[in-house]
C-alpha cells in the first residue's frame, strides 16, 4: 500500500530524516513512535505530500507520490490533523462536506447524491450526526476531533494518517477513536498510519510499530518486540518499566519517577517492626513493600505497607471470609487495600521469626505453623474440599531489590524448605497416613523493600535462595514445635 525507500530531507538546510525506509500493508494499523524531534511529524508531512523531500521515494499503491495531483492524492490519503483552528465558524455539516472536495467535479463543484450519502454515513460513524447544525467553535475538543475525523473519512481514503490522534481527548474518547480505527482497518481494510506519543496506546492498538530515533528507523516490528524496556530507555533516555497488560496480551510501559535521595536510603525490615499479641501478629513497614502473596486480602502482586496474621478460633467458618476479614481489618484501623491479611487457628505465642544476613542484603522470616490439618499433596484428592483456616503462614521480607522472577523462585524455595521441615518432624497426613507436604490452606507472602542490592534469582543455591531455605526451614520447625508445646499446656 505504502512503500518508502531511503527517504531523506527536512526543513531548509536542517535535515531531519536520514534515509528512512519501510512499507505498510493494506488494512494495517501502523504506529510511528519516537521522542520529540525524532522526525515523526516531518515524516508524516512528507507522506501526506505537504512537505517536499530531498532524496528517496514514496510509493502509494505502486505509483510515486510526485505523480499524484492534489485531488488524486486526496482521494487516496486523508489526514486527521493534531489540531485545527478556524478563522470563521462553519457548521459541522459544512465542515464535513468539505471532505468531498476531491470527489467533486466541474468548475462550480456540484453536490451529488453520492456526496450527501457519504457525508451522512461518516457523520453517523463518528457520532457527530446529532449536532450537524452546530457551529464548529461551539463544540468541545473531543467533538471537534470527531468532526475532523468525519471530514477525513468523507474523503473515502484508502490510507488515513493520524497525528497524535489522542491529544486533548479524555479516556473514553481516546478509546472510542482508536476502537473505530481498529474497526475501520479490519472491516474496510483502511490503512491507518498514526503518530503516537503514548507508547501504551500504540502498544495496545497497533499491528506494527516503527520507532524513530534522530531521523532514522531504530526498529520496525510487532509491538512486543519494539517496546523492549532497554530499547525504550535508551531512545527516550528515561527510566521505564515494562509490564504486560492485565487483560490482553499487549505490552505496557510505565514511567518510573526520579526518586528523592531520602527515598533511596536502604530500609531494613526486622523484628523492631513486628508486634505479637494474642489476637494478631502484625508488621508495620516504614515504606510500602512490593508484595506477592496468597493472603485473604492484598493477595496477588501489589504494594503493601501493613501485614496482619490474625488468630481465629478452630470453629471459624464464614461463607464470605474475604468480606469478614475486610470488615475486621477496617474495624482495627487497617486500610484493607493497603494490608496483606492472613488468618490462622494457631495460638500466636507460638510464632517463630528470624533475621538472616546475606552479602549486601538481608531477610526477615515470620512463620506461624500448626499441622493438625496436614495434607500430602500427592494424595490430595482423597480430601474433601471444605475450606478451613490455613495453618502454616510464611512471611518472607527481603531487604533488597527483587526481580519479578526472583519472587517466584522465592515461593518455590520456601515451599521446598517447608516440605523438608514437615518431613523432618515426621508430620503425617491423618487421612492417608503418608508424609504430609503442608496443610490444606497454607499462605505465603514475599515482600521486598526494592531498595539496595539487585536480586535476580532465588533458586535454592543462589545467595538469596540459600538464606530463604535455611530461614524457612528453621522457623517452620521451631514454630511447629512451639505450637505443640503451647497446645499441651
Amino acid at each position: 500500500m505504502l512503500e518508502v525507500t531511503g527517504l531523506s530531507g527536512g526543513y531548509y538546510n536542517h535535515p531531519v530524516l536520514d534515509s528512512v525506509s519501510f512499507t505498510v500493508n493494506k488494512g494495517e494499523l501502523f504506529g510511528i513512535l519516537g521522542p520529540n524531534g525524532s522526525g515523526k511529524t516531518t515524516l508524516l508531512s512528507m507522506l501526506s505530500g505537504v512537505l517536499a523531500y530531498k532524496a528517496g521515494t514514496i510509493k502509494i499503491k505502486g505509483t510515486s507520490l510526485k505523480e499524484y495531483s492534489a485531488k488524486q492524492l486526496a482521494q487516496v490519503i486523508a489526514v486527521l490533523p493534531q489540531h485545527s483552528s478556524l478563522a470563521f465558524s462553519y457548521t459541522v455539516k459544512e465542515t464535513v462536506s468539505l471532505g468531498r472536495y476531491a470527489h467533486q467535479k466541474g468548475l462550480f463543484h456540484s453536490w451529488s447524491d453520492e456526496d450527501e450519502a457519504v457525508v451522512q454515513k461518516v457523520m453517523e460513524q463518528t457520532g457527530v450526526a446529532g449536532f450537524s447544525d452546530y457551529q464548529f467553535e461551539q463544540l468541545s475538543g473531543g467533538e471537534r476531533q470527531r468532526v475532523l475525523l468525519a471530514q477525513a473519512l468523507a474523503q473515502e481514503p484508502e490510507i488515513l494518517f493520524l497525528d497524535e490522534p489522542t491529544n486533548h481527548l479524555d479516556l473514553a474518547y481516546q478509546k472510542g477513536l482508536l476502537d473505530l480505527m481498529k474497526k475501520m482497518a479490519m472491516e474496510y481494510e483502511l490503512t491507518v498510519i498514526a503518530i503516537f506519543h503514548d507508547l501504551n496506546l500504540a502498544g495496545l492498538y497497533c499491528d506494527r510499530l516503527m520507532l524513530l530515533e534522530k531521523g532514522q528507523v531504530r526498529v520496525n516490528d510487532i509491538p512486543n518486540e519494539v517496546l523492549k524496556q532497554e530499547r525504550i530507555q535508551q531512545v527516550y533516555r528515561t527510566e521505564i518499566e515494562k509490564h504486560p497488560h492485565p487483560a490482553i496480551p499487549r505490552p505496557q510501559m510505565f514511567i518510573v519517577p526520579n526518586q528523592h535521595d531520602s527515598e533511596k536510603d536502604s530500609v531494613v525490615i526486622n523484628e523492631q517492626f513486628l508486634t505479637v499479641s494474642d489476637e494478631m501478629v502484625q508488621l508495620h513497614a516504614p515504606i510500602p513493600l512490593r508484595t506477592m502473596s496468597s493472603g485473604v486480602t492484598g493477595s496477588g502482586t501489589g504494594w503493601h505497607q501493613k501485614f496482619v496474621n490474625r488468630h481465629v478460633s478452630h470453629t471459624y467458618s464464614c461463607e464470605n471470609h474475604v468480606e469478614e476479614m475486610t470488615d475486621y481489618l477496617r474495624s482495627h484501623g487497617f486500610e484493607p487495600s493497603e494490608t496483606v491479611g492472613m488468618m490462622t487457628a494457631v495460638f500466636l505465642e507460638a510464632v517463630s521469626y528470624r533475621f538472616l544476613h546475606g552479602e549486601n542484603f538481608s531477610i526477615f522470616i515470620v512463620v506461624t505453623a500448626g499441622v493438625g490439618n496436614a495434607v500430602d499433596a500427592s494424595l490430595a484428592d482423597q480430601h474433601s474440599d471444605a475450606p478451613r483456616p490455613g495453618t502454616i503462614n510464611t512471611w518472607i521480607f527481603i531487604n533488597g531489590h527483587v526481580a519479578e522472577e526472583a519472587f517466584i523462585h522465592s515461593i518455590v524455595t520456601a515451599t521446598e524448605a517447608k516440605v523438608k521441615a514437615l518431613h523432618e518432624l515426621g508430620v503425617k497426613d491423618p487421612v492417608t497416613n503418608t508424609w504430609a507436604t503442608g496443610t490444606s490452606t497454607d499462605s505465603i507472602l514475599i515482600a521486598a523493600t526494592q531498595r539496595g542490592e539487585g536480586l535476580h534469582y532465588a533458586g535454592t543455591i543462589t545467595p538469596l535462595g540459600k538464606l530463604i531455605s535455611r530461614g524457612v526451614y528453621d522457623c517452620t520447625v521451631e514454630a511447629i514445635e512451639k505450637n505443640e508445646r503451647v497446645k499441651r499446656t
Binding site: 508531512s45 501526506s48 505530500g49 505537504v50 495531483s69 492534489a70 485531488k71 488524486q72 492524492l73 486526496a74 482521494q75 490519503i77 486523508a78 489526514v79 490533523p81 485545527s84 483552528s85 478556524l86 478563522a87 470563521f88 465558524s89 462553519y90 457548521t91 459544512e94 468539505l98 471532505g99 472536495y101 476531491a102 467533486q104 468548475l107 462550480f108 463543484h109 447544525d133 471530514q151 477525513a152 474523503q155
Partner: protein, 353 residues
C-alpha cells in the same frame, strides 16, 4: 439562545437570502436613480427605463429632461457605483477567506495603493497615451495594481518559498507604506493638480459616464467569475493551507488565481472611482454574521449587498450638502468604521464569554 436560533434559521434559508439581497440592490438602484437635485418620479422612471433600456412599446412620451437625466447622468452613475461596490465587496470576501483573517481586505495587500500610484502618477506627470486617450488613467491603474500584486508575491516567494499567508500580509503592508510615500511625495511636489489628485484619492463616482462602465465591466465579469469558481477552495483554505492540501486543493495555484482575480477587481474599482475604503471590509463581515461563512453563498451575497450599499452611500454623498457633493469615500468610512468597530466589540465580547 433566541438569537442563535434566528441565526440558524437565516443561515439555513439560502433562497430567502438571495431574495433579500436582490431586492435590496433593486431598491437601492431605484432610489439612487430617482432622488437627486431634480427628483424623477418613480412612475416616470419606470416609463423611461422600460422605453430606453428594455425597448418596450410604451405609448407615453416621458419628459425629455427626465430622460436625459436618467439615461446620461443618474443611470451610469448608479451602475458605476454598483459595479465598484460589488467588485470591492467580493474581492474583500475572497481576500479574507484566503488570508483567514476577517481584518484583511484589498488594501492590506498593497493592491489599492499600487492602483493609486498609477492614477496619481498619470495626473502628476500628465501622461496621456494617444491610443488610450481618456482611458489612460484607469488602464494604468489596473496595470499598476496587477504589477503590485506580482511584486508582493515575488518578494514573498523570495522570503518564504512556501508563501505563507502571514508573509504575504507583511509584504503587502510594507509595499503599501512604500507606495503611500510615493503618493505623498507627488502630492508635495505638485502645484495646480493638487485639487484634482486629492479629489480622486478621496473617491467619487460622479460625472464618469458610460465610458467608465465599459472600462470596469470586463474586469468585473472575469474577476467575479474566477472567484465564484473558487468558493470551495476558499472554504478549504480557511482551515489552513496544509489542511486544504490534505483535502485535495492545489493550494499554490489556487492561491495565485484568487490573488490575481481579487487584484484585478480592486485595481479596476480603484481606477474608476479612486480609493473607497471599508466596503471590502465591512460588507463580507456583515454577510458572514447573518448567513454564515460558506463562500459559495458569501461571495455572491457580498457582491449584491456591496453593490446596493455603495449606491446608497453615493446617494447620501450627493444629498448631504446638496448641491455640492461629498467624496463617497468619506461616507463609506463614516458608516463603515463605526460599524466595523461595533462588530469587533461584539466578537471580542463573544470571545470572552
Amino acid at each position: 439562545m433566541v438569537k442563535q436560533s434566528i441565526r440558524k434559521s437565516l443561515t439555513n434559508n439560502k433562497p430567502l437570502a438571495y431574495i433579500i439581497a436582490v431586492s435590496f440592490l433593486l431598491f437601492s438602484m431605484m432610489v439612487g436613480i430617482s432622488i437627486g437635485s431634480v427628483s424623477v418620479p418613480f412612475f416616470t422612471l419606470f416609463q423611461i427605463l422600460g422605453k430606453e433600456v428594455f425597448h418596450l412599446p410604451i405609448a407615453a412620451q416621458p419628459d425629455m429632461m427626465f430622460t436625459n437625466i436618467v439615461m446620461n447622468i443618474r443611470l451610469p452613475r448608479v451602475l458605476l457605483a454598483g459595479l465598484v461596490g460589488a467588485s470591492l465587496a467580493i474581492a474583500g470576501a475572497a481576500f479574507q477567506g484566503l488570508l483567514r483573517n476577517p481584518l484583511a481586505d484589498p488594501y492590506t495587500l498593497g493592491v489599492s495603493s499600487g492602483a493609486s500610484v498609477g492614477a496619481v502618477a498619470t495626473i502628476f506627470l500628465g501622461i496621456s497615451i494617444p491610443v488610450l486617450g481618456n482611458f489612460t488613467l484607469p488602464i494604468l491603474s489596473v496595470v499598476f495594481s496587477i504589477v503590485t500584486i506580482f511584486c508582493v508575491l515575488f518578494f514573498t516567494k523570495k522570503m518564504d518559498r512556501s508563501m505563507k499567508v502571514e508573509t504575504i500580509i507583511l509584504t503587502g503592508i510594507i509595499f503599501s507604506s512604500f507606495l503611500s510615500a510615493f503618493i505623498s511625495l507627488m502630492i508635495a511636489l505638485t502645484g495646480e493638480e493638487l485639487r484634482q489628485i486629492i479629489g480622486w484619492l478621496m473617491g467619487s463616482v460622479s460625472m464618469r459616464g458610460w465610458s467608465y462602465i465599459v472600462i470596469i465591466l470586463p474586469f468585473f465579469v472575469i474577476g467575479s467569475l474566477v472567484l465564484m469558481m473558487n468558493t470551495q477552495e476558499l472554504n478549504a483554505m480557511t482551515f489552513g493551507e496544509n489542511r486544504a492540501k490534505h483535502l485535495g486543493v492545489n493550494v499554490q495555484r489556487r492561491k495565485l488565481t484568487i490573488l490575481i482575480a481579487g487584484s484585478v477587481l480592486t485595481g479596476a474599482a480603484v481606477a474608476v472611482s479612486g480609493t473607497i475604503g471599508f466596503v471590502g471590509l465591512v460588507i463580507p463581515h456583515i454577510i458572514r454574521q447573518i448567513w454564515g461563512p460558506d463562500h459559495k453563498h458569501l461571495l455572491p451575497l457580498s457582491l449584491l449587498i456591496g453593490s446596493g450599499f455603495l449606491i446608497l452611500a453615493d446617494l447620501v454623498a450627493r444629498m448631504v450638502i446638496s448641491p455640492s457633493e461629498l467624496p463617497i469615500g468619506v461616507i463609506t468610512s463614516l458608516i463603515g468604521a463605526p460599524a466595523f468597530a461595533l462588530i469587533l466589540l461584539k466578537r471580542r465580547r463573544r470571545g470572552e464569554r
